[in-house]
């Protein structure tokens, strides 16, 4: 049917496993979070982690970056930040008598955008533009960020005072949203024993090359989606649009995101084709942040839980292909 070369699924699985094990040396007992992060990486998408401070969001991002043999930068967002603080500025060089562009922290492979909702919409949108296009233009000059490019943004869902919540259109740019959650007792004990307070002390050696990651991303796009599974994805998306409790359904970009996420999920398990289970597994992280309730609730955590419950309902209602 297809002339594309066969995907070396076992090799892909081996690579992903190496990466996973390396990260899990540091991030203990968070298999699901690690898996999702990796899936996001394979899918070439951006990740939004919503959770309380101190749960290991930054550590996760750092470990990922260190394991891949690529550059990492961290941006701590504050309300007085300007777009140039992220993108970089052109400054006048006395010697060359010319403006020279000084690259900002965005020019890294893995960018950790901490507390993204603390900054103004202006700054937010500059970041989101880069995320969408993978390039940026300053003073008529276009610069490309180095692939693979992945933004891991975090935000605090509870402390909302003095924040600028991301508008829905911008939420759409993130492939997934996820929570970290508190660690289990024994893992926390582990962390306590060999604990480092700062992630700079973490030892993570690169186990996967940048080239390999880009290869994996290429494979992900070629993972086979059978017709009925594709239909299933579309039916799921359509169901969100018919569900009257949601203000609006997911966009076609959401549908595409679910597909690529499911493909990445399949590949991360060494499979060259998508199963309905992959779609189901990716449904919540991919769709939940793209949906809002018609009657919005005062507590965002509460609202998120309602959305998740509705999604679960929807999942049972839509018949999976057999």
């Amino acid at each position: 049917m297809s002339d594309a070369p066969v995907i070396p699924a076992p090799r892909a699985l081996d690579t992903v496993d190496r990466l996973r094990k390396n990260i899990e040396r540091t991030i203990r007992g968070k298999t699901e979070a690690v898996d999702r992060t990796l899936i996001c990486l394979l899918a070439g998408g951006h990740l939004l982690i919503e959770d309380l401070p101190g749960l290991g969001k930054t550590t996760l991002a750092y470990c990922l970056a260190r394991s891949i043999d690529c550059s990492f930068s961290r941006i701590q967002f504050t309300s007085d930040m300007l777009p140039s603080d992220i993108i970089g500025v052109s400054i006048y060089d006395e010697k060359s008598k010319d403006f020279q562009f000084k690259r900002g922290p965005i020019f890294a492979n893995i960018v950790l955008a901490d507390e993204i909702n603390r900054t103004t919409p202006k700054t937010q949108s500059s970041l989101l533009e880069v995320m969408g296009r993978g390039k940026l233009s300053v003073d008529g000059q276009t610069y490309t960020v180095p692939p693979p490019f992945m933004v891991i943004a975090t935000q605090n869902p509870v402390d909302y005072e003095g924040t600028f919540p991301l508008p829905e259109s911008q939420m759409d740019r993130f492939l997934m949203r996820m929570e970290m959650g508190y660690p289990e007792f024994e893992y926390e004990l582990d962390i306590l024993k060999g604990g480092h307070l700062h992630y700079d002390h973490l030892e993570a050696t690169p186990v996967v090359s940048r080239v390999e990651v880009m290869e994996l991303q290429e494979y992900t796009r070629r993972v086979y989606v059978e017709d009925t599974v594709a239909e299933y994805i579309v039916r799921l998306a359509a169901a969100t649009r018919q569900q009257s409790d949601f203000r609006s359904g997911v966009s076609p970009r959401g549908t595409l995101s679910l597909k690529i996420a499911a493909q990445a999920c399949a590949l991360s398990q060494g499979r060259a084709f998508v199963l309905p289970e992959d779609v189901q597994r990716m449904l919540h992280p991919v769709f939940s942040h793209r949906l809002a309730l018609r009657k919005s609730m005062s507590d965002p955590m509460e609202e998120r839980r309602s959305v998740e419950a509705l999604l679960t309902q929807l999942e049972t209602r839509v018949k999976e292909p057999v």
Partner: protein, 725 residues
């Protein structure tokens, strides 16, 4: 079934499962048998049946009941049973049945140890036997036939499980229980020896039951079964001589004397008179059968199975059958209300038949229930005059000398008493009829009216007994109340004095209708004595009942009494007895022989037919083989062979073929057949919960990029293997 040296065995767990399931099966059988008992416990029986069925089909659900329920079930059931018994205090069988049902439900649901398994067998045996004995239905035979092998098998399993050390009920883990797998396991361990042994035991049980079936009608069941024995107490009964007060003595006995299966309730008159004995001779307060009536030529002695009378006009001949069941110890004379076409016994019977007075006696008083059938029975008001009587009776009135050896029918006009008594009778007669002679009917009316006006009915007669005078006449002179013999005796003596022939008849008058099983019941308290007077105008004996409260004062007018109906508990118990009689006592030897002969004939016919069919087939095959080779003859065979080959070939390449058709049709909606088949196997494996490496391959076939049909086939065959386990 495996019969190799390596014998498969059921594990202890599986044996326990088998034991539990067989217990539920036994319980279902008992509830079914109790259903036919009809004691108003239908809802609880149905509930029990459903519970047992659920316990049998879905043992996993029952195992899910928490243990705390069983701790409380015991006291609650005990309370329910006690309450049930207290609420229905006079009855005991329905609460008893409900108790058994409740206990069985509890036993079936709760986990059992070995002792409790035996309890289940016992309870079930109780159910089957009680319903069998009380209803005597033919289903009983089937139920006991089912019960026997089941109980034997369960006992066998209990013996296998028993290791001698048993603390409490073995808790069975039903989570992994699968009916199909379980049956397969049981099939594996079934041994030829076990089957042969079980079949032999079962055959033995059946043989013994068949033997019992043949023996039953020839067996004294009244002695064997206690509930039948209850009523077989010694009674005074009717004998050939009745003193004053003898009949009244019988009336004090309330037990049943006679049960009659009647073709239709409307055929029985409201107050039927069941004649048993005719007493013609009177002397000193005693009525008896005269010597001449006891011997030839009046009485004929014979050994018969059937007695023809055929005095009933042909127009009334309908073939209705009346079946009489007379209790033992009543009398050797059979109750017969009147004429009939034929009378049949169950076997050859020595009888004494007095055709002129229509009295039929056996050679002795039976101790058991005696049954006989009468065809087209009539309730006669008049008995036609017999050939032996006609000559004497036509020449009435006659003067007769008192003589002990006087011949019948002269005994019916004899007046053996002192002259003083005769004078007293004459005095009364003169006041009643005057000088002009009356017809028998008018005379009866006059005497009955006289007796009714002057005397009242009572079981305690009064009046003083004057020495030297006849006891009946002295009652007529001084009494004011008396029993039926006194009324009948007075009537007879008065009639004889006036020149009419009259005789006493004893038997039963009346009875009641059992509404539960629709039959007529005559009790000993219905014993009665009445009169037959010779009516010269009609040349017949006319029945007159001079006792107040029984008949009408006008002998020609039939009483429009109402029949009494029996219902309620005692009637129900009584109806059980007639069911027993109908099926067991009345079952004739001849019928059994006929049944056996029919069975034999049928078997022989089948055998002959089978033999012929086989020989025909043999001949056909032989001629086909012997015929010369002929292509035309082989043609259908070749076509069939070709068809078979084609079907097999198509079957082998079916996926490729279907895929080709699919591509040909290019239906976007339709699923590629390989994918569809893979999907089917996947969902089957998922339902069965089977983990197998073939699942991944099937998933690749179903959702992955297209593969060749050849590769698919091998995956499918592995999937089938995985499904088979």
């Amino acid at each position: 079934m495996s019969m190799g040296s390596k014998q498969a065995r059921l594990s202890t767990e599986e044996l326990h499962e088998l034991k539990q399931l067989m217990g539920a099966l036994l319980a279902m059988l008992s509830f079914w048998s109790l259903l036919s008992l009809d004691v108003g416990s239908m809802p609880i029986l149905v509930l029990g049946g459903l519970t047992a069925a659920v316990a049998f089909c879905f043992p996993r659900w029952v195992a899910g009941i928490p243990a705390v329920v069983w701790r409380w079930a015991g006291p609650v059931i005990l309370l329910m049973i006690v309450g049930d018994f207290l609420l229905h205090i006079p009855e005991f069988i329905p609460p008893l049945v409900r108790m058994v049902v409740l206990l069985l439900i509890y036993r079936v649901l709760a986990p059992r140890n070995l002792r409790e398994d035996k309890q289940v067998i016992l309870l079930c045996l109780f159910c089957v036997v009680i319903s069998g004995v009380l209803t005597v239905s033919l289903l009983f035979a089937l139920q006991i036939l089912l019960f026997a092998p089941l109980a034997m098998a369960l006992l066998f399993v209990i013996c296998l499980v028993d290791r001698g050390k048993e603390a409490g009920p073995h808790v069975i883990d039903w989570t992994s229980f699968e009916w199909s797998q379980f049956i397969r396991r049981v099939w594996q361990v079934l041994d030829l020896r076990i089957i042969v042994l079980c079949s032999a035991m079962f055959a033995l049980v059946v043989a013994v039951s068949s033997l019992l079936f043949i023996l039953t009608p020839r067996f004294d069941f009244n002695r064997a079964l206690p509930f039948l024995e209850l009523s077989t107490q010694a009674r005074s009964g009717f004998s050939e001589e009745v003193a004053l007060g003898d009949v009244s003595e019988i009336q004090e006995d309330n037990s049943v004397a006679l049960r009659i299966d009647v073709p239709d309730i409307d055929v029985v008159s409201a107050v039927p008179y069941w004649r048993m004995l005719v007493l013609d001779k009177y002397a000193a307060g005693r009525f008896r059968i005269s010597h001449s009536l006891r011997a030839k030529p009046f009485r004929t002695f014979a050994e018969r199975r059937e007695l023809q009378l055929s005095v009933v006009p042909f127009s009334q001949h309908q073939g209705d059958l009346w079946t009489f069941y007379m209790e033992g110890g009543i009398s050797r004379y059979l109750p017969l209300p009147g004429d009939f076409v034929a009378l049949r016994f169950q076997k050859l019977q020595e009888i004494e038949w007095v055709p002129d007075v229509r009295v039929l006696g056996l050679d002795s008083v039976g101790q058991n229930v005696f049954s006989y059938q009468v065809e087209d029975l009539q309730f006669n008001l008049r008995i036609p005059v017999g050939e032996g009587e006609r000559e004497v009776l036509d020449s009435l009135p006659l003067e007769v000398e008192e003589d002990e050896l006087l011949a019948y029918p002269l005994t019916t006009i004899e007046l053996d008493m002192p002259a003083e008594s005769k004078a007293a009778l004459h005095e009364i007669n003169r006041g009643l009829v005057g000088e002009t002679p009356l017809s028998a009917v008018d005379y009866s009316r006059a005497v009955t009216n006289y007796l009714w006006q002057n005397f009242a009915y009572s079981l305690m007669p009064d009046g003083e007994r004057r020495t030297g005078q006849d006891p009946v006449v002295s009652w007529l002179g001084s009494g004011s109340q008396g029993h039926c013999e006194l009324f009948a005796g007075s009537f007879i003596l008065l009639a004889r004095e006036a020149g009419y022939a009259a005789r006493m008849v004893v038997g039963y008058a009346g009875g009641s209708w059992n509404t539960l099983e629709d039959y007529f019941v005559v009790r000993n308290r219905d014993a009665h004595a009445w009169v037959e007077i010779y009516d010269a105008e009609n040349e017949s004996w006319l029945r007159v009942d001079p006792t107040p409260g029984h008949g009408s004062s006008d002998p020609e007018m039939l009483v429009q009494g109402s029949m009494t109906f029996d219902s309620g508990w005692s009637a129900w118990v009584d109806s059980l007895r007639i069911q027993w009689y109908r099926r067991i006592v009345n079952f004739e030897q001849q019928d059994q022989v006929e049944l056996a002969m029919t069975l034999k004939d049928v078997l022989l016919d089948y055998y002959a037919a089978l033999k012929q069919r086989l020989s025909e087939w043999g001949l056909a095959i032989k001629s086909w083989v012997a015929a010369p080779l002929d292509l035309g003859r082989l043609q259908p065979l070749i076509v069939l062979l070709a068809l078979g080959v084609a079907v097999v070939a198509i079957w082998r390449v079916r996926y490729t073929l279907l895929g080709f058709i699919h591509r040909l049709l290019r239906r976007p909606k339709a699923l590629d057949p390989v994918r569809r088949q893979a999907g089917r196997y996947l969902s089957k494996l998922k339902i069965e919960g089977i983990q197998s490496p073939v699942v991944a391959e099937l998933q690749a076939l179903r959702f992955g990029p297209e593969l060749s049909a050849r590769a698919a086939k091998s995956v499918f065959s592995r999937a089938r293997k995985a499904l088979r386990g």
